[in-house]
Amino acid sequence: MAYMTDRKRANRWGSAKSGTHHFWSMKVSSVGLLILIPLFVFTFGPALGGTYEEVTAYFARPFPAIIAALTMIVAFKHFNDGFQVLVEDYVHGIWEKILILGMTCLSYGAAAVGVFAIARLAL
């Protein structure tokens, strides 16, 4: 008979301080994308296949440029949060950390490149 209690066992294992934060972030970005994705598909889609002059002129317009930039930011944030859940479910140990860190670098990096490129086209 060990003198252990449920409370004592739970100690040091971390609390639920930020337990719902990830869930809420996913929910916020998913609602954002619900608005942005249809707008992005039907503004970006027609531009694809155009000549260099057409494409640069198209994204110099405010609406397609703002939609595209916002989509970059929210989609990569949402992707990063979602990928983290995928890794947490299937990968454990050191690779869990490496994959989450690596994909975070890639997601934020790609979002930055996308926003930079769109800003350059727009300005």
């Binding site: 008979m1 060990a2 252990m4 209690t5 449920d6 066992r9 929910k27 998913s30 609602v31 994308l33 619900l34 994705i37 598909v41 039907f42 970006f44 889609g45 027609p46 694809l48 296949g49 260099y52 494409v55 640069t56 994204f59 595209a68 970059m72 989609a75 990569f76 992707f79 979602g82 990928f83 995928l86 790609a110 490149v113 996308g114 930079f116 490129a117 769109i118 350059r120 086209l121």
Partner: protein, 127 residues
């Protein structure tokens, strides 16, 4: 309570035990489509970067993105995008503890499959 049978409890059955069902398959495809979309996302970022760099680099990137292979990736991604979006809507509904009964879950599952195909065809026609 504190010492009852710790670490020696039966495990819940794993994936290979369950018969695949509409609910489980549509669920796993939300995850697959969501993560697979990174390919198209990176391709689009590359395309934007090329357009912002120079006409020569744009011609190079655009040739890849609009090639048959690029088209195939974007076509499949269009379906994946609509599927993932509708799957997300389904989660937003479920988050309110609504529609979790089997009958509604199946209806939403069929709506997800049919809806994603219809939206993909619509996108291909319009865009």
């Amino acid at each position: 309570m504190a010492d009852v049978n710790r670490g020696n409890r039966p495990l819940s059955p794993h994936l290979q035990i369950y018969r695949p069902q509409l609910t489980s398959i549509t669920s796993i495809f939300v995850r697959i489509t969501g993560n697979a979309l990174i390919v198209a996302m990176l391709m689009i970022v590359w395309w934007f970067l090329a357009a912002a760099t120079s006409p020569e680099y744009f011609a190079y990137a655009d040739a890849f993105v609009t090639s048959w292979f690029g088209d195939l990736v974007l076509f499949l991604s269009t379906w994946a995008l609509w599927y993932h979006l509708l799957g997300g809507v389904r989660h937003l509904i479920w988050d309110n503890a609504v529609g979790l009964d089997l009958e509604t879950a199946y209806t939403l599952g069929y709506a997800l499959i049919i809806g994603s195909v219809v939206l993909t065809i619509f996108t291909v026609i319009v865009v």
